[in-house]
Symmetry: C2
Subunit: 138 residues, 2 copies
Amino acid sequence: MRSPAQLVDAFRAQGLKVTPQRQLLFRLLHDNDRHPTADTLYAQATSEMPGISLRTVYQTLTDLTAMGELDQVTFGSGPAHFDPNVADHHHAVCDVCGAITDVYVDGADQLAIDGLAGFRPDSASIVFHGSCASCART
Amino acid sequence: MRSPAQLVDAFRAQGLKVTPQRQLLFRLLHDNDRHPTADTLYAQATSEMPGISLRTVYQTLTDLTAMGELDQVTFGSGPAHFDPNVADHHHAVCDVCGAITDVYVDGADQLAIDGLAGFRPDSASIVFHGSCASCART
DNA sequence: AAGCATATCCGCAGGACTTGCTAGTTCGCA
DNA sequence: TGCGAACTAGCAAGTCCTGCGGATATGCTT
């Protein structure tokens, strides 16, 4: 995701308006590698701007996702997580504490795949489940 | 997933009762590679047994999943899909028609992974998105 | 074959997450 | 500064799933 200042320009360039609510969300998301949910962001936003609506949070996240500034990721059931890292990467989910970390996988393109005959893949996503470094220390 | 007859025994062995509703679902799921949702199964079940409850479908799917006879898979948002194939495999999702096919990936264990330091993985799942053989023929 | 304890069935209410809708407000260009 | 479009807030509703409770069926027993 680009910087808040760049997003301001990008929004205006699309005819979208730049409101304080949106700028706050730009800030909360920038350089954020926590993979927050809408609810998490709403809580953080509320503490800085009481009265902001959950609806507005969802709306802004949807806009950012449509602009390709954000990836929306879901892990099993449960709420969607938003990822400002739009580079090609994957995720590791800690089943104990729920932490989500970015993972870069090399050689995924050269996997021997059986069953994909005729299938034209656009993307592949890999999700690891397990215990993170902190939780693995039994 | 094991055969309907074996599931009957397995259910009884656990103190679970074998009802006509459950037996119907055993049959609908056996050798089913369509990755149905609860709703899909409910529709099929209803045509054979009008009056069966959606609640019962969910209950039976939950039981089978708990017994390890079924895998529950979700792709992005949307309903869960149930997979009687519990072997180690992955999935390819057609974004056009929604078809889901099983995929076997060789060498996934030897991927060069960056960012997994200290993480103890229990499982990995790979999902390909793209166009299936039929839909790829533009 | 009949009885009994208990698991199951069904339908509805409710919960989690997300989106639609509307009135009133704010933004941004001229 | 002023105007029209876009936005915000709040609530209603939609989707998917689970909890609850009374009536019923299953499977063991006698």
